[in-house]
Homo-oligomer: 157 residues x 4
């Protein structure tokens, strides 16, 4: 995994980038299909790895948020398939996090071949906030506070 | 699986519905995640089952098309998550097939709870045509002919 | 799905077959890999579909058992890979249910090509009984009662 | 990923350990199920990552072997489920490679929690050798030569 790469998070307006995270992944054999490239649903699994590592890098591991009763189910996902990638290819994925309105989080993702930089996939997911029972809620104050201080810490680095 | 349900396919203009297909599926245990509902990448796997059965119902099994060297890789996918569905829930999925321009196929999909008709997922995939080596091609004449006569046969039913 | 096929369940001794269930399934595109056959972990997902449908056919849907707080996590799995199967191939899977000792359930499974009867996979899973928190428990009396009367009903059919 | 860990490979007799490889992995969200632990087929996907990295660490990337027309399909798999592991848990997996007879390769695998060392999964897979068309073959001479010199190099490290 590469070092964290945080953009300047000067604002928390909807649409502004809050932070970003870059990591590497290899295409698993189980992720290929008989067309010889990755199966079309795998990018959504990779996007989820990007969110996981992106939140961890910010100091807010997603598992901890779930333990506190905060869940981020998907509202919408979009994937553009830009190039092939085969078993064992080393890919680089960058996730860009921002607000989408006041109660939704957006993760935009770009995946390229790590060496050639040839694009493989672009896309995004949009997330609502829910409690443990799956009821839609506003992102709670404690989350806003945690996010704000995590962004402040990472900006100082 | 429910009987085929073909719309009136009076035209092959881009955007016009060519045919549609409805089928049922049950959420597998392997498709759930720890949030207690289906994992977010599963709908893309279900969409693919819809295309498979939709082509079979039309008399053009997808496996046969691949044997003749015609592949339909995804160019784009979009999923809207509209409601929860749990392990063993019986869902009903309808796939609507149309052209998207002259060289791309679009499959729009709606998934609802089979009994309550509550929406679960909506979305679409857009497909290019490629040969065995993954090179983009125009849909070949034999495919247009096969599709035309399959649509004519199904309209007579 | 084919009709239920119950063996004569004259006993509930460990090792004796309690009931069996046969169903059909098609290899999904998402289940293939670049070797052109099904990926090696898919049979465990199919085995789970066999347990699901086997319990439903007996009148004890697995989802209902989980709602009552009874879970059957795997203790052990074994898969023998006997033949290839490709995307869209129609397979027939038979699951044989028996006790393995007093507190474990065994599901033996055979998968063949539906038409040619050529073997594809054989194997088994062994299941413990746990409560909602994952603690190992003895199968509760209500489960023994339910199973006994379900087997009696199915034997009368 | 941790550094390679090669055992002393003094022999290539059936059953003797040829080499071993240890790596870390995190449980992905997509790998959980509604029981709150990893779904039962995921260990077979992890085992495959262990083989991939194990061969790469030895200097024989599996993708290269496939390019030369050598494939290692599974003949048999066995998984023992020894403990729970949740989303984001950090696991450590060690793969032990040996011959099983003259024409089969065996990979034994142990997975534990990286910190507590509590066992999660143990198991193995047994692999045949086939050509591109899936026909069983003896492991070719060039593979024996490659393996021998790779083992010799790694023993010198």
């Amino acid at each position: 995994m590469r070092p964290k790469d945080f953009g300047a998070a000067s604002s928390t307006e909807s649409g502004d980038e809050l932070w970003r995270h870059t990591q590497q992944l290899r295409v698993r054999y189980s992720e290929t299909d008989q067309m010889g490239t990755f199966y079309n649903s795998r990018p959504l699994e990779w996007f989820e790895c990007g969110r996981s590592e992106g939140f961890r890098a910010l100091g807010l591991p997603y598992a901890t948020l779930e333990e506190r009763g905060l869940f981020f189910p998907l509202v919408e996902a979009r994937v553009e398939y830009l190039g092939r990638a085969q078993y064992d290819d080393l890919l680089e994925m960058t996730s860009y996090f921002s607000w989408a309105g006041r109660a939704r989080l957006k993760c935009r993702v770009e995946i390229v071949h790590a060496e050639s930089r040839k694009p493989v996939v672009a896309g995004h997911t949009i997330h609502a906030f829910t409690d443990r029972e799956g009821r839609a809620i506003r992102p709670p104050d404690w989350f806003h506070q945690l996010l704000k201080s995590a962004l402040a810490s990472s900006a100082r680095l």
